[in-house]
């Protein structure tokens, strides 16, 4: 799956925990410097945010009308 914001997308909207967390960390490991990935979820993943901050990743969050949180994460 690709998205206008980035070709690296984890659509975790129908995944049970801890699937979204694991899939995101796995994709982050495959990104090169300067690349971004997008995580799609129906909730805000605060535990993931904390880990991203600890590991020095930036992220931006946008809530879409259908309830999807689009979380754009920088490598």
């Amino acid at each position: 799956m690709t998205h206008p914001k980035t070709p690296h997308v984890v659509d975790a909207r129908y995944m049970e925990p801890p699937g979204p967390f694991v899939a995101t960390m796995e994709m982050l490991d495959t990104l090169k410097d300067g690349e971004k990935m997008l995580l799609l979820l129906f909730r805000e993943p605060h535990p993931l945010y904390k880990v991203l901050r600890q590991n020095g990743h930036d992220y931006e969050v946008e809530l879409q009308a259908d309830g999807t949180f689009e979380i754009l994460i920088s490598r």
Partner: protein, 432 residues
Amino acid sequence: MQALMAFENAPPFAAPLRFFLTAPAFAVLAGLLVAFEGPDIFASRWTPGALAATHLLTVGFMMQAMLGALIQILPVVAGANLQHPLRVAKVVHLGLSLGALLLAIGLYRVDPPLLVGAALLLGLTVSFFLLATLKALIGVPSTSPTIRGLKLALLGLAGVVGIGVVMALALAYGWAVPLPALADLHAGWGLGGWAGVLLAAMAYVVVPMFQLTPGYPARPSWWFPVAMLAMLLLWSVALAAEWSWLVRLSQLVAAIAGIAFAGLTLRLQAKRRRARADATYRYWQLGLSASIFALFLLSTVAFWPAAAEIDGWTLFFGITLVVGGFLPFISGMLYKIVPFLAWLHLQNCGQAKVPAPAMNKILPDADAQRQLLASAAALGLLLAAVLFPDWLARPAGLLLAVANGWLGWNLWCAVRRYGRYRADIAQKLAAQ
């Protein structure tokens, strides 16, 4: 390994667990009280037995489970970390449990010193909880409907407990306040502003997460908690100004908002991607259907105020909303939260070397489904007992006690299995 890193946000299992294991005991007490009192308890919502049973369910069961869940879930859904969560949990659990018991006994015996003691204990306990959570939430922006809902639900909690304390003191000291109208407002703040808004804020997260449904659309999710609190404030102002038409209008809009939320949740559940209907799903279906029916009854009163004077109308409404709506929502969530937390803690114990057992092995769904049937039967009997109290009051009370004792037993068995799995994992790790 990364999955373990997220674990540090989680409070100790013992923090929420004490609430989850205690809550069913209060519903058992409520059932036993109904069985003991028999048909008299159905004579009116104002009988001492009915008031005591109501508060055993709403404070002893509902508030107990809801505060326990909040302690667990604040870091996960709002990124708000309570300082010393175990200490907060111990204080709140003790104050709430003792306060609920004192309140029920005080209402049952119409005992002023007990009512004053209960009001002070519950008031102080909830104030302590609110201070602890507000401290955690300071600086947390409302970036999602869930966070906004949580904050407004805490306002609802302050409202229901504040009015409740005033009412208990008014009963104890014979203050001249309009108790029936205040009781309605108290119930509105409790079931709408506190329980209803908290339920919605949690549902935005847990329904898509555990039942694999689409997400709640953003716009109504932002506005539902605001609309509910606005209507309760309007109702409060209308009561103070003695504008009965505005009281009815605010009740009507709050009821419509509740029906819309429940209807939307049913629609999302119909689109779920999990084929199997587990106990949580079935409990929510029961809770949503009963809530819609109860709120429809409430809406009817706005157009036809005399309906509330019909024998048994208010009891029927209250049982449908509390025993048919909120108890199933909470029971359904307990069946998901307790095994999930057990699994999470076992996963952490295993240090990525020994896998945790599947959640269904910690709390088998078949056990939960059987208990659900008992709960549904208890609800049916309680509603029928409003119409035929002489025949059904005592069996209904007994069945409510049995169903909730069974819920407690299922949760307790899950915790024992958790302990065994934890020992097993420690043994395997030591052998490596």
